[in-house]
Symmetry: C4
Subunit: 206 residues, 4 copies
């Protein structure tokens, strides 16, 4: 019974996290303001209006992918946990705070495209989220939270993935200083970092 | 234990999807702006204000029904699945991205009624969602995700329904080019397409 | 297994409903716009600004109570159900559509206080929700959905409560025609209607 | 079966509460409006714009922590409950109403920084939430709701924590009268009150 109760506490925390992720990812759309043209506008004017909204649309897409990526990591890490520990609660809440903050930084970046400060701000928030994500995922996949039957490979994968998101976000911060408009492209380096970490890991074990 | 854990991963993904569907469907209302008339306005003026809001109210109703329809399809498909597969995660996230995008396209269509570009844009988003929906539902009702006890008829029904939503959305896109104001009526062809597919299916089996 | 699957479908529908109720009830706050006074405003000016917002604050409170009341009825009805039936899905979705619509009608009423049309509109939406609520709760507490062990008293209570909410909403509609500012007071007649129905029920059984 | 049904009712109430907490905490971000500067603005202008937004950012952070704190208390209290009682429903709904109200009071405080009335208003709402929180948590950790295996220490901890949040909020109200800008600092007295209550409790037992 006692065990069932603590598992229930874990479930409720995971549920709360899921809800915040889901709300934040859906709230991104609130910052998109539909253009309203006078009746009888030409098709060209409408396409123009959509085109001038494209930074916002691209920003929506990228931030959706970013929050989705953090959610998938969270999902994968907690699928390996089966015990609750109050230790994870505070860190997880901080992570959720940054996730809930994403719609704001996305709107700020999209409304000030090609500028350095918003780009650095966006990437720093992402880096902070990546660090908290790593901390939360490490806690969830370590004792006392980890499931006894979780495969060590799965645990190693989750931790490597978390570390590569940190490295990818750091790359994005660096890019933001020199090429603000393309800072988010730094995230595309994540698979590269993951491969590097895997290679180093296998060499260390050999 | 391992099986229970993967089922848990499925449940959490379904839960996350439900949350995004629920938030998107409720956020539709945010794009409705309540008219504010000076104190002492006549009843006629109030009715006029409501009447001029009618495209938005109709748009709210239709998009509520559209998201509801996608949710019901998702609900039906996943009620036949009992195993988790990471393969479905990415496609499902893309589908949710388009669902979360619906409040924006609804607002865009409602504020630019009778215009061709917004109508085509709305219907294309719906078509893309229908295609992703078909992909997700096929994955959920196929191996390795499908429940061993799921009836083949139920699986066939889910897949046919998914295909007829695609055909109905394509009809809506076609209508948007010629009669932008009534493009959403294309969705009313869905039951027709379903009947056609059922008839073809039964002929093929005979 | 098959039974477990259909129960799961019921659970997921209940979950989706809960999420829509929770989002609608929380979105009410979005229509409250915080006054922003110049720095150094006097305390009196601040209190004045809050006072002029009081119709909106009262409207928020009442609509919170209204949605909460519908949620509690839903909660009570479905706690007596243990089987899923696709028959309830469509009605439930219509009910949720009206619940999601509440933030809009609340804002409309609060911004046009003392006017007849907004009051009638608000009360008609509430009446429609009450009728759908009655239909959904009757379906959930009747065969094939009702739990075999549900007490007949509990079922009768849920149905009587649903009926008295309909009568209370009808009273509110009638009040809206003659005293728009106090139409919501019609809801206070709900306990009276419930007592009347209980009395009639006990007389019929005697 | 009957027991399982009532546990289900408890679970659904907890779920609904979690959803409202999660939505309210994420909606805080909606009141943050991203600055939009003309293209080609200097880095200094951007930093200036961010700096002038800092009261709002700090307000977001503090209210996130406040709602998070209430959620953690709720989470801890209900992890000790295993039976449903309709008695808790109304109080819990009132608590959720105040939580859903937090985004509004946060926006009001942030837009009128250094002013007395908004500060007192914010702290009074927090105090009311703290009192309801105490009532709900006491109900959840008392008969008939409390789990038979819940440790008396855990129950005592939850109740003491609830009481110290009330005292901390009262301190914040008092501070709001004399130092409006720092009223929220009153919350920092919560650990102090907890220690005092623990010390008094241990002295009473000795």
């Amino acid at each position: 019974m006692a065990a069932a109760k603590t598992d229930h506490a874990l479930e409720r925390m995971v549920f709360f996290s899921d809800a915040v992720f889901a709300i934040a990812i859906t709230l991104l759309v609130i910052e998109l303001h539909a253009p309203e043209l006078p009746r009888g506008s030409s098709d060209a004017a409408q396409l123009q209006a959509l085109a001038s909204l494209s930074p916002n649309l691209v920003g929506f897409g990228i931030s959706f992918a970013v929050i989705g990526m953090f959610w998938m990591g969270h999902h994968r890490a907690f699928s390996l946990a089966s015990h609750y520990s109050p230790r994870v609660l505070g860190w997880n809440l901080c992570l959720l705070g940054l996730i809930a903050f994403m719609p704001f930084v996305t709107a700020y970046l999209s409304s000030n495209i090609f500028q350095r400060v918003p780009a650095i701000f966006y990437c720093l928030v992402m880096l902070a989220a990546a660090l908290l994500n790593l901390k939360v995922n490490r806690t969830a996949t370590g004792p006392p939270m980890v499931d006894e039957h979780a495969s060590p490979e799965a645990v190693a994968y989750v931790r490597q993935r978390g570390a590569s998101v940190v490295l990818g976000s750091a790359t994005a911060v660096a890019l933001a200083f020199v090429m603000p408009a393309f800072c988010q492209a730094g995230l595309m380096s994540i698979p590269f970092w993951r491969r590097l970490l895997t290679w180093r890991g296998s060499r260390a074990r050999a």
